[in-house]
C-alpha cells in the first residue's frame, strides 16, 4: 500500500484547500527567469502542514502563502540563498527538504560515504587475507606410495 498514504495525504490537503492546483496561474511571475528561480527554491521548501510535500506540490493555504512570499522576496531582488535564509529564519530548519550539513546531520549526510567506505575497507581487508597456500606437488616418497597403491594387485 505504498501509495495509499501519499494519496491520503494529498487528499487531506485537497480537502483543506478545496479543489485547486498547486501553483495557481495568478501566482506565476511575469519574468520567466524569475519564475524558474521561484520554482527551484520552492522545490526545496517543505509545506509545513503536509507530509513530505514541497510547497510547489501542495494545495494547502500555508504552502500558497510561502510560494507568494518566495516570489515577493525575489521581486525585491533577493538572491536564491537570501530567500531561503529568510524563510528558514521565520519557519526554522524544518522547512528545508534538504537538511543543512551540520553536527546534527553529519551522520545523515555521511551515510553513503561511510557505507561505501567501510564496506570497501572490509572488502579490502578480506582480499588481503592470506590465501591458504596452494597444495604443493607430491614429494617423491608420496609419489612412490601412490604408485604402489595404484599398482597393487
Amino acid at each position: 500500500m505504498t501509495r495509499l498514504r501519499a494519496l491520503l495525504a494529498a487528499l487531506t490537503l485537497c480537502l483543506a484547500a478545496g479543489p485547486a492546483l498547486a501553483v495557481q496561474p495568478d501566482e506565476v511571475m511575469r519574468d520567466p527567469a524569475q519564475e524558474r528561480r521561484a520554482r527551484e527554491i520552492s522545490e526545496g521548501l517543505r509545506c509545513l502542514v503536509c507530509q513530505n510535500q514541497s510547497i510547489d506540490d501542495s494545495d494547502a493555504p500555508l504552502a500558497r502563502d510561502l510560494r507568494v512570499l518566495v516570489r515577493d522576496r525575489l521581486r525585491e531582488g533577493d538572491s536564491n540563498g537570501q530567500v531561503v535564509e529568510y524563510v528558514v529564519q521565520r519557519y526554522g530548519e524544518f522547512v528545508l527538504l534538504r537538511p543543512v550539513f551540520g553536527p546534527h546531520t553529519w551522520l545523515l549526510w555521511l551515510t553513503p560515504l561511510l557505507a561505501v567506505g567501510l564496506g570497501g575497507f572490509g572488502l579490502w581487508r578480506l582480499a588481503r587475507r592470506p590465501v591458504p597456500p596452494r597444495p604443493q606437488g607430491l614429494s617423491e616418497a608420496e609419489s612412490a606410495q601412490v604408485e604402489a597403491l595404484l599398482h597393487r594387485k
Binding site: M1, R5, A6, C14, H104, T111, V131
Partner: protein, 666 residues
C-alpha cells in the same frame, strides 16, 4: 453466517500454523519422519482456511453486508463492483488479511514443491514460515478483526476513499504484497539453514526461484504504485521519496542485492554468510515497511487507522523476528564454512561491488527515512529529509553501480581480464557516447544531465544486447562466422542469460525514461472555452466545460482538444473534478494522452464561475519508459525462472499455481 465461517476459519488457520510451526522442530529432535511431514498438510490447511476467510470477507464486501463493521466503513451500495472487490484490501484489516493469505500461499507452495528441497531444510523452512503466519494471524485476530459485526446494521456504508476507487487499488497491493511477503520464504530458508547449521549450493538453488519470484512481483508492484500516484495525484510526479515509498524501495534494493549474491553462491559456493544475512535483512525491511505503514509511526495522520495497540504489537513482531533472526545469525554464522576463492577482478568481484553499492544505497534510504524521527526523539530538533536529499545521495551511488553492470557481465568467473572485458564493451561505450553527444548537440542549451542520463541508459541497453551477441558468437576457435549460427546459438543460450540481459536492459530503459524527464515542460494558465494553452510541442484548446455523472460521483469535466504546434489534430483529452457525495470529497481526475511512449498530461484546477478554468498541461517525453522498463525487468525475472536449471530442481508444478495476475510471459 458466512462471515462467522470466515472468522472461524481465521482462528483455525491460527491453530494450523501453530501445528505447522511446532511439528518439524519436534520431529527434528525425535527423528520422526512422519511427524516432520505433518507440516505439509498443515501448510495446505492453513492456506485453505485463510482463503476461506478472505473469500468470506470478499463476499461480505461484494454483497454490501452492512452488518460487518469493515464493510460499513469502506463500502457503499452505489460503489462500482470492481471497487467493491478491491475495497476488501483498501483498508487496514482487509489488507492484513491479504498479507497473511499470501504468506500462507507461499507456505503452501513450498509444501507442495516436493522434489526441490532436501526434506529437513523444507520442514524447517515451513516451520519458520508458519511462525510468521501464526504471529500475524494472531495480530489480526487480537487487534484488527475484519469480521466484527455491528448491530443494528446501518442502511448505507461510508464508502471507500475516492482516491482508492481506481484500478490501481485492484492490482497494486496484491502485486506489492506478493513481493514483500515472497521474501518471507527466502527468510525462512535462511533461518532454516542457520538452524540446520549447513548451507551450500543446493540451498542457493532452492532459494533462487523464490527470490526471483518475489523480486519480480515487487518490481511490478512498485512500478504500478508509482504509475498510479503519477496519474492520480494530479501533479505529474512519479516518485516522491515518501517514507511509505521508501518502505517498499528498501526491500527491493536489498532483494536485488540478494538476487545477485545468490548467483555467486550457487555458481561458486562463495559469499554464503553474506547471502544469509541479506536474506534476513531483506525480509526484515519488508517487515519494517509493514510496520511503518501500519503503525502510523512516520505517518501520524494519514494511515487508514492509527491505533497504539497495533503499533506496539507490530513493534513486538519486529523485535521478535528481526532481533531473533540476527541473534541466531550472530550465533550460528561463524559455524558456516566459507568457500570459493576468487580474484578481485572477476564476475564474483563485480557482483560484490554490486552488493556494496546496493547496500550503501539501501542504508542511505534507511537512514534518510528514519533519521528525522530519531533526531527528534534524541535532541528534539526537527528536520526534514525530502526528495532533494535523496536525489543528492542516492544518484551518486546508483551511477557507479549502473556503470559496472555490463562490465561485470563481461568478466569471467573466478579470474577475469579487465582489459578484455573493456574491449568487449567498446561498442556499447562508443554507441552510448554517440547517443549522448548527439542528444546534447540537438538539445543544446537544455538541461545537461538529461543527455548524460540518456547515454547511461543506452549504455545499459546496448551492453545487455552485446552480452547476448558476444556469448552467442563464442570465442576463439569456436567463434561463429555467420549470422545464422550466431542466431541459433543465441536461441540456445540458457534462459537465465536472456533473463539477466532483459532485466539489465530494463534498468537501462528506466534510466532513459527518468533522464528524459529533464525535458518535460509545464504550461499553466486560466483559460476560457475557445482559448488554448501550450506545453512543449503540443497545444490544448478548451472546447467546453460541462457536468458528467458516474455511478457514484458527479464530475465537472473540461473537454480539451490536443493539437501539435503545427496545428495537426492529436486527439481529445478530458480532465475533471469528481465529487463523491457519500464522502463529500472532491478528487482531480487527470487527462492523459499517450503519443508513442510520451504523454501529455492535463490536470484541471479551479473552475471559475464565468466558465474559465485553471489548467495545468505537462508534456512528459518518454515518460512511459519508466514503468515499461520496470515491466521489462520483471519479465527478465520471469524468463530467468523458466531456466532449465530451475525447472529441473525447482517447483515447476507450484509455480503454475500462482494467482492469475502473475508476471506475463511465464
Amino acid at each position: 453466517m458466512l462471515v462467522e465461517v470466515g472468522h472461524f476459519a481465521l482462528a483455525l488457520a491460527l491453530a494450523l500454523s501453530l501445528v505447522q510451526a511446532v511439528m518439524p522442530i519436534w520431529a527434528a529432535r525425535s527423528g520422526d519422519g512422519a511427524l516432520r511431514e505433518a507440516a505439509v498438510p498443515a501448510a495446505l490447511g492453513a492456506f485453505a482456511c485463510l482463503l476461506l476467510a478472505f473469500g468470506a470477507l470478499t463476499y461480505a464486501h461484494a454483497t454490501s453486508d452492512f452488518s460487518v463493521q469493515n464493510v460499513v466503513e469502506n463500502s457503499h451500495t452505489a460503489k462500482p463492483f470492481l471497487y467493491k472487490l478491491s475495497g476488501v484490501w483498501g483498508n487496514h484489516e482487509g489488507s492484513m488479511l491479504l498479507w497473511v493469505l499470501i504468506l500462507s500461499l507461499f507456505g503452501a507452495l513450498v509444501a507442495v514443491a516436493r522434489n526441490a528441497v532436501p526434506p529437513t531444510l523444507r520442514a524447517n523452512t515451513l516451520a519458520v514460515q508458519a511462525t510468521i503466519t501464526f504471529v500475524f494471524v494472531l495480530f489480526i485476530i487480537t487487534t484488527s478483526n475484519p469480521f466484527s459485526r455491528v448491530a443494528p446494521a446501518p442502511m448505507e456504508g461510508n464508502d471507500l476513499n475516492p482516491l482508492l476507487q481506481d484500478f490501481g487499488l485492484a492490482v497494486h497491493p496484491p502485486l506489492l504484497y506478493l513481493g514483500y511477503v515472497g521474501f518471507s520464504i527466502t527468510f525462512a530458508f535462511a533461518i532454516a539453514a542457520l538452524i540446520d547449521g549447513r548451507i551450500d549450493a543446493v540451498w542457493a538453488r532452492a532459494v533462487r526461484p523464490w527470490t526471483l519470484t518475489a523480486w519480480s512481483f515487487l518490481t511490478l508492484g512498485i512500478a504500478m504504485g508509482s504509475y498510479w500516484a503519477y496519474y492520480e495525484l494530479g501533479w505529474g510526479g512519479w516518485w516522491f521519496w515518501d517514507p511509505v515509498e521508501n518502505a517498499s524501495l528498501m526491500p527491493w534494493i536489498a532483494g536485488t542485492a540478494l538476487l545477485h549474491s545468490t548467483v555467486v553462491m550457487e555458481k561458486r559456493d562463495a559469499l554464503k554468510v553474506w547471502t544469509v544475512l541479506l536474506a534476513i535483512l531483506t525480509f526484515s525491511l519488508s517487515l519494517l515497511g509493514t510496520f511503518i505503514v501500519r503503525s502510523g509511526l512516520l505517518t501520524s495522520v494519514h494511515t487508514f487507522a492509527t491505533d497504539p495497540t497495533r503499533g506496539v504489537f507490530i513493534l513486538a513482531i519486529l523485535v521478535l523476528f528481526i532481533g531473533g533472526s540476527l541473534t541466531l545469525f550472530a550465533w550460528r554464522a561463524p559455524m558456516l564454512r566459507q568457500g570459493g576463492l576468487f580474484a578481485p577482478i572477476s564476475r564474483e568481484g563485480a557482483l560484490v561491488m554490486n552488493n556494496l553499492f546496493l547496500v550503501a544505497a539501501c542504508a542511505t534510504v534507511f537512514v534518510g527515512t528514519l533519521y528525522p524521527l530519531l533526531l527528534e526523539m534524541l535532541t528534539g530538533e526537527k528536520i526534514s529529509v525530502g526528495p532533494p536529499f535523496f536525489n543528492w545521495t542516492f544518484v551518486p551511488l546508483a551511477v557507479p553501480l549502473l556503470l559496472i553492470v555490463p562490465f561485470g557481465q563481461a568478466l569471467a568467473w573466478k579470474r577475469g581480464d579487465a582489459y578484455a572485458a573493456a574491449q568487449r564493451l567498446l561498442v556499447a561505450f562508443a554507441l552510448a557516447l554517440a547517443v549522448g553527444v548527439a542528444t546534447l548537440a540537438l538539445t543544446w542549451g537544455g538541461p545537461a544531465m538529461a543527455p548524460i542520463g540518456l547515454a547511461l541508459g543506452a549504455y545499459l541497453v546496448i551492453g545487455s544486447a552485446m552480452e547476448i551477441v558476444s556469448r552467442a558468437r563464442g570465442y576463439g576457435g569456436s567463434r561463429s562466422r555467420d549470422v545464422a549460427t550466431t542466431w541459433r546459438r543465441a536461441v540456445g543460450l540458457p534462459r537465465s542469460a536472456w533473463g539477466t540481459a532483459l532485466a539489465h536492459a530494463g534498468v537501462g530503459v528506466v534510466v532513459i525514461g527518468i533522464a528524459a524527464q529533464g525535458w518535460a515542460t509545464e504550461g499553466l494558465a486560466t483559460i476560457k472555452p475557445g482559448e488554448s494553452l501550450a506545453s512543449g510541442p503540443y497545444v490544448a484548446t478548451l472546447d467546453r466545460v460541462g457536468p458528467r455523472t458516474g455511478e457514484n460521483y458527479e464530475e465537472t469535466t473540461a473537454f480539451l482538444t490536443l493539437r501539435t504546434r503545427a496545428g495537426d489534430w492529436v486527439g481529445p483529452v478530458e480532465t475533471g473534478k469528481r465529487f463523491y457525495p457519500s464522502r463529500k470529497m472532491t478528487v482531480t481526475e487527470s487527462g492523459l494522452k499517450t503519443v508513442g511512449v510520451s504523454q501529455i498530461y492535463a490536470s484541471l484546477g479551479e473552475v471559475v464561475p464565468g466558465g474559465a478554468i485553471g489548467l495545468r498541461l505537462y508534456y512528459k517525453p518518454l515518460v512511459l519508459l519508466i514503468w515499461l522498463g520496470a515491466v521489462v525487468m520483471a519479465l527478465g525475472g520471469a524468463v530467468s525462472l523458466t531456466d532449465r536449471r530451475m525447472r529441473v530442481g525447482a517447483p515447476a508444478k507450484a509455480r503454475a499455481k500462482l494467482p492469475p495476475h502473475a508476471v506475463p510471459a511465464e
